[in-house]
């Protein structure tokens, strides 16, 4: 009955691009993890820690994260609207421009063009490029959904629409700047106010790049992989609206005990605690979905990716609010605990969910089966173990650092100099590199598996029917 065709080439293009930038970002991540314990691995001026770290975070957030979001969202939107993209040529150009922008972004960050706003480091000409990319994405997503052939919009489309509008608002506001030449600008916002704007942005970049689009994938691919319907539609409605409402209040938990007015900090902390509820709404929905038939964990290799992914999302959204509390923040803020926290989310939840979605998509659009479930299982265990070593090591180090900074002698004087505290970190920093290495090897198994699947199958010219 359906004679429409899906634009699979663009989906594939984004997936391959995101994997490519993912490799770049992960390798740089390994590199900077070595720089932490071996300063001779800094190569001035382009490859010092201060420059490489932002290439790592931007490369993975934009290159891997947003690349996967673009490609996988296009895939989901086409299936849920039962029609091709409204503007397939625009999507092709979008793909091309995306790769050009990420490449330019990496070069500009190596060159030290840096606004010093976390996760918004790119200078203003590239910011304009990012906004154009986002508008292209929005036009296709909105256009395709408006012209859809399916009456109801499924949960995943809600999350994608929320992502499109929220990221646009966040990115544009936080990047407003006064240019001083092509490669340098000064934020429109100063001092305390700029801190408040930045962390309103910074926390919600996590919310609307690393959370809502990946929940869209989770809600789409979990039922698709397992054949089990989402447990509760009502729960997903409640979870969606409370999530997008509460997220925007919470940014100030990043700047607890700073000169930011106390009431904003307290409000941010309170909403952060509240945010546990909508986050766990999706976690519970996922568990109960598979809960009707737990044998899927064994019989379907993708189920464990999604269930472990949502488990790390659940842990992340309990650990995060805990960290926001003043009594916890004063111990672990500014320590390695925080990268430990972030990497549980990115390595455990985001990458796990994206990889599982890609495992589902690639055989579908190549009209074949996955090359090897065994390799997928090896991939699963390696990234799981690598991430756990990384995160747990960093939590231990973080608590130790916080405690050493606070330790006092009987007479009330400080017990350790900063340097004495730093020296004790080295064994843990070695362990982090080991964890990262194991994770990276796991990702190589994933890439090999995807590559071999592509080789054995054949990409349908403009896509097959549903």
């Amino acid at each position: 009955m359906s004679d429409y065709q899906y634009d699979n080439q663009t989906v594939k293009g984004f997936i391959v691009s995101s994997i490519f930038w993912g490799v770049v970002g992960i390798v740089i991540g390994l590199w900077i993890s070595v720089q932490m314990w071996m300063p001779s691995w800094n190569i001035a001026p382009f490859f010092t820690f201060g420059r490489l770290r932002v290439v790592h975070t931007n490369g993975l957030a934009i290159g891997l994260g947003i690349g996967a979001i673009f490609g996988i969202s296009y895939y989901i939107v086409m299936r849920l609207t039962k029609r091709p993209l409204l503007f397939p040529k625009l999507a092709r150009f979008h793909l091309w421009l995306f790769n050009a922008a990420v490449a330019l972004a990496a070069v500009s960050l190596f060159a030290g063009m840096n606004q010093s706003l976390e996760y918004a480091e790119l200078e203003w000409p590239l910011d304009i490029g990012v906004v154009i990319l986002w508008v292209m994405f929005a036009v296709n997503v909105f256009g395709t959904i408006i012209k859809r052939n399916e009456d109801q919009m499924y949960i995943s489309l809600w999350f994608i629409l929320a992502t499109v509008v929220a990221v646009a608002v966040l990115y544009i506001v936080n990047n407003l700047a006064i240019p001083a030449g092509l490669t340098k600008s000064y934020s429109l916002f100063a001092g305390v106010n700029s801190a408040n704007v930045q962390w309103w942005y910074g926390h919600n970049a996590v919310g609307f790049i690393f959370t809502t689009p990946f929940l869209a994938m989770f809600y789409y691919f979990l039922p698709k992989s397992t054949g089990l319907p989402i447990y509760s539609h009502r729960l997903s409605i409640i979870a969606f609206w409370s999530l997008v409402f509460a997220y925007l209040w919470t940014g100030a938990h990043h700047i607890v005990y700073t000169p930011l007015p106390d009431w904003i900090q307290t409000l941010g902390i309170a909403f952060t605690i509240f945010l546990i509820a909508p986050s766990w709404g999706s976690v519970v929905n996922g568990y109960y979905t598979v809960g009707t038939d737990w044998s899927k964990m064994q019989s379907n290799y993708l189920t464990k990716f999604f269930i472990l992914g949502i488990t790390f999302y659940g842990l992340q959204t309990v650990q995060g609010p805990t960290q926001g509390l003043r009594v916890v923040s004063q111990l672990i803020h500014y320590t390695d605990w925080v990268p430990g926290h972030v990497h549980m989310g990115t390595m455990g939840w985001v990458t796990m969910t994206a990889a599982a979605s890609i495992y589902y998509i690639i055989p579908k659009i190549y009209n074949t089966h996955i090359y090897s479930e065994k390799i997928a299982n090896i991939h699963f265990w390696l990234v799981l173990i690598g991430q756990l070593i990384f995160s747990i090591t960093m939590w231990i180090t973080g608590i130790m650092q916080g405690a050493l900074w606070k330790a006092t002698n009987a007479d009330g004087s400080l017990k350790y100099t900063f340097m004495e505290g730093l020296s004790k970190n080295y064994p843990y920093w070695h362990m982090r590199t080991l964890g990262g290495l194991i994770f990276t090897i796991g990702m190589l198994f994933f890439i090999y598996n995807i590559y071999m699947t592509m080789r054995r199958g054949r990409l349908e010219p403009a896509g097959a029917k549903a």
Partner: protein, 194 residues
């Protein structure tokens, strides 16, 4: 009927945007309109051309990835670093440079703590002073000359006062000198310039 929302994408997007903007307005936009968010200490001076050049280098090299610039009002933190940070100290920072990770120590009170020579030796080879330090060396900054024309554009963008003489003196200064000058001014507004 509420169910209609889920088959009307434009309406859905508008409602979602409004929901998102509520928290944005209360915690970010409305505070921005109040004087509470724009404090300035009486002692705080705009950066000089040399200091601004140094601050730009601090940002270019991503120093804020490992160093914070905010002392929390906690007992041991004040003992370690000095007076806790005040809201009015950062009015000329676009953006703020508080940072979020202390791989190295906080720098909010580093101004005037050491002589210029200390910084120059330390930047050149941090491990010569602290064998266990993991900080990259920045000795190469002493081979980089400042560009007065570029710095003038930056002073203008910030609306900071400067004199032509001040700018012309920059051409024989190095980036290391500028970065050191910036180090020496950080956090000094609490007690006034030294």
């Amino acid at each position: 009927m509420a169910g209609d929302l889920y088959n009307k994408p434009i309406l859905f997007a508008i409602v979602a945007t409004v929901v998102i903007l509520i928290g944005t307005a209360v915690t970010m936009f409305i505070p921005m309109l109040t004087s509470e968010m724009h404090p300035k200490l009486d002692n705080l001076k705009p950066y000089t051309a040399l200091q601004l050049a140094g601050k730009d280098i601090y940002q270019r090299e991503g120093c804020n990835n490992c160093h914070t610039q905010t002392v929390r009002p906690l007992k041991t933190e004040v003992m370690r670093y000095g007076e806790y940070s005040k809201a009015g100290e950062f009015a000329y920072d676009r953006p703020f440079l508080w940072g979020s990770k202390r791989t190295g120590p906080d720098l909010a009170r580093v101004g005037g703590k050491y002589p210029d020579e200390w910084h120059e030796i330390h930047f050149d080879n941090p491990q010569s002073m602290y064998p266990d330090s993991n900080m990259p060396a920045y000795g190469w900054l002493k081979d980089e000359r400042l560009d007065p024309a570029s710095i003038e554009r930056r002073m203008k963008a910030n609306d900071f006062p400067y004199t032509p003489a001040e700018l012309s003196q920059l051409s024989d200064k190095t980036e290391l000198t500028a970065l050191t000058a910036y180090m020496q001014v950080i956090g000094t507004a609490v007690t006034g310039p030294k």
